[in-house]
Amino acid sequence: MEIRYTAEHEWVALEANIATIGITDYAQRVLGDLVFVQLPAVGSSLAKGAAAGVVESVKAASDIYAPLTGRVVEVNPATVETPGLVNSDPMGGGWLFKIEVGDPSEVKELLDEAAYGKLAT
């Protein structure tokens, strides 16, 4: 599985044409303890860069963006029930949603780990 990143501090795990999306460990640390997660509707189509959901900590609200164009095929309801899961396991059990990639050419615009590492400091 290939993991890429966005400048908006999201991670994208690619497996065949399915992208799993979440926020990075850096993002959850900056946001602090999450208290609310809103995810996109399964079946909705998102353009790259479109607002897909919201994560909120005690302190602030932050939009989640679609890192790639595609259709939402699955969301992680456990994060809505227990927002703290995103803090405790941001790149595992705290994943947010999956999309079926609509335009594979967009993938190369995502950041690799080295490029993202420079942003997340």
């Binding site: 602090g32 609310f36 005690v58």
Partner: protein, 376 residues
């Protein structure tokens, strides 16, 4: 101005304890520590939290002629509260009003026996000092105690933690204040705070602050708590944050602070009015107000400061605005406060807030959201 934020006397100590420092009202403040806002909030309500609130202004007002009560009379020209009736060793919440009855700042006024000790908001400190000097010049000296730190210990174990260092504080009650000798210096300690919990605020010489903070932190119940949790704690307690829930265009009556205006300062009292905006405020006390600060509860997502309020899910006519809002960790849900027309202020009224284009349902609710636990 290119100068960065002012550092607290304990700045390096906070950094060493893992604080995330951010600028607030011109000060670099600890927003949270490694425990995080949620954990810090809950810890304060369950045990005891130690807060550094040295950014707040500490002001000493003394009568020039040595007539302590005359200084109280002068202060009453600036606040709608009973200062002359405040006994030595007691403090009281007050507001500085403007000519239209709005709130310049909110503060605590303590009677230390030979001087009046005021604690004001950081953002308003310079303006408050200038305001006091302008109006009290000639009768009182106004001194900003900038060499003092202010620590707060809050929570059910606060008394246990502080009395381990200073046994005498255990005898104090809510809003008592006194001068205590510690290591050859004077500390002013009040049994008060801004979290809704029992607790104390300690004004200590800056040079002594680290030692006292360190000794308090050594108590097993005590954790360091940042400004983030301080905000969610005070909001759950229904307490106003000046510049947000209070301001120059809101009167204390609109802000539902009627309780802070004692009867002697009201129409028919022995010293009615005589403070800026008294005509507006006393008229509102008698005839009521057109809008009022209320508590709001939501389900689901937090509704935050600035959110516009509506009477129904579709109307375009704004009826008010949220002035503070967050997720209340102890209230276990979103809590907020805001101003609404008096017709929509009754408890149980359903309202809607616009949050990023979504209409979020809210219910006008009693405050505090979490019961106060003061030691009266």
């Amino acid at each position: 101005m290119t100068a960065g934020p002012t550092h607290l006397p304990l700045h390096a100590w906070h950094v060493a304890h893992g604080a995330r420092m951010e600028c607030f009202a011109g000060w670099a403040m600890p927003i949270h520590y490694p425990l995080g806002i949620l954990g810090e909030h809950k810890h304060t309500r369950a045990a005891a939290g130690l807060f550094d609130v040295s950014h707040m202004g500490q002001i000493m007002v003394r009568a020039r002629a040595g007539d302590h009560l005359a200084a109280a009379r002068e202060l009453e020209r600036l606040v709608p509260v009973d200062v002359m009736g405040l006994k030595a060793g007691r403090q009281r919440y007050a507001v500085l009003t403007n000519e239209s009855g709005g709130v310049r700042d909110d503060l605590m006024i303590a009677n230390l026996g030979d001087c009046w000790y005021l604690v004001v908001n950081a953002a308003a400190t310079a303006a408050d000092v200038a305001h006091l000097e302008e109006h009290l010049y000639g009768t009182c000296s106004v001194e900003l105690a900038s060499a003092r730190a202010l620590l707060a210990v809050q929570g059910p174990d606060a008394c246990g933690a502080l009395s381990a260092l200073m046994p005498a504080v255990a005898a104090m009650h809510f809003m008592d204040v006194g001068a205590f000798r510690v290591d050859d210096t004077t500390c002013f300690i009040s049994r008060s705070g801004y979290t809704g919990e029992d607790g104390f605020e300690l004004s200590v010489p800056a040079a002594l602050a680290e030692d006292i903070a360190e000794r308090l932190l050594r108590h097993p119940s005590v954790q360091l708590i940042g400004l983030g949790a301080r905000d969610s704690l005070r909001l759950e307690a229904g307490l106003c944050l000046c510049g947000h829930d209070l301001g120059g265009d809101t009167t204390p009556i609109e802000a539902a602070l009627d309780w802070a205006i004692q009867s002697v300062r009201r129409t028919g009292g022995s010293r009615p009015g005589g403070f800026p905006g008294a005509d507006v405020i006393l008229t509102q006390l008698e005839r009521g107000v057109a809008r009022k600060r209320v508590g709001l509860r939501a389900e689901g997502r937090p509704v935050r400061e600035g959110a516009v309020l509506f009477a129904d899910p579709t109307s375009d006519a704004a009826i008010g605005r949220v002035t503070s809002g967050t997720y209340g960790p102890s209230a276990e849900g979103p809590v907020a406060m805001g101003y609404v027309p008096i017709s929509l202020a009754p408890i149980g009224t359903r309202l809607f807030a616009d949050v990023r284009g979504q209409r979020i349902p809210l219910v006008v609710s009693n405050m505090p959201f979490v019961p106060h636990r003061y030691h009266r």
